[in-house]
């Protein structure tokens, strides 16, 4: 029972809604339930909005993950936007150069089990997140 990878193009604010719907579907297939589904969808919402606000467009790739006997979801959010010059600062609560609460990225990190961010100024940003079933 292979779970297919899902790609969601992020171009407009309503794509954020589409991305979190797809994430919920995939997470359900993987075996997540209850508040974990909402937690995953909320994290997707934050990284997707980050793309819309800072990079205008990008994509989110959702897939099933496996580590030993544990199952989980893998989320990769990619854009070719301006990049983040100071990642530690972007990961600090309350820091925002856009129009937000500045809780997006640090919040997404708190919601997921694993969170990695790679960014190069002028090239873009890639965020990789994983959440494992309990």
């Amino acid at each position: 029972m292979a779970i297919e990878e899902t790609r969601v193009a992020i171009d407009h604010d309503y794509d954020i809604v589409a991305a979190r719907r797809k994430a919920r579907e995939l997470a359900m297939q993987v075996g997540f339930s209850g508040s974990d589904l909402t937690i995953i969808a909320t994290a997707i919402s934050e990284v997707a909005r980050n793309i819309v606000v800072y990079a205008s467009r990008g994509e989110i790739v959702l897939s099933a993950a496996q580590r030993g006997t544990r199952r989980g979801v893998l989320v990769v959010a990619r854009d070719q936007g301006p990049g983040i010059p100071d990642i530690p600062r972007a990961m600090r609560d309350g820091f925002s150069t856009g129009k937000s609460l500045g809780l997006g990225l640090p919040g997404a990190k708190r919601l997921m089990d694993e969170f990695e961010i790679a960014s190069e100024v002028g090239k873009g940003t890639m965020i990789t997140m994983r959440k494992w079933t309990r």
């Binding site: 309503y14 809604v17 719907r21 508040s35 909005r49 819309v52 919040g107 919601l111």
Partner: protein, 124 residues
Amino acid sequence: MPVPILKQGDVLIASIQSGLSDHDLMELRDNIAEKLGSFKSLGVIVDVSMLDVMDSFATRMLCTIAETTRLRGAETVIVGIQPEVAIAMVQLGLALGGIPTALDLEEGLQFLKASIRGRGQRGN
């Protein structure tokens, strides 16, 4: 997909649907501020029971709606935050500041009625 705003007595009721875009939320903020004036409403209920996710943007918009409403001389109550949404909000680090919340529409209306009664009627 604009959010419908219903008028019930002194209160405006906005029921947010599940797949709400950022743009829809900003429109809701503007529409509530405008309708408060035309209906001389004293309270606003935002029902979020259908909302799938309350992220940082939605939270900021609700805080903005509550503050705009307050500046227009009325009061806001957020009702229907689902248990899993509440758990995700706390984990994300979101708070609704001092905005009153209630379990559902009925309790929200009761809260506003008591509050409006407490300060007397406006305009007559």
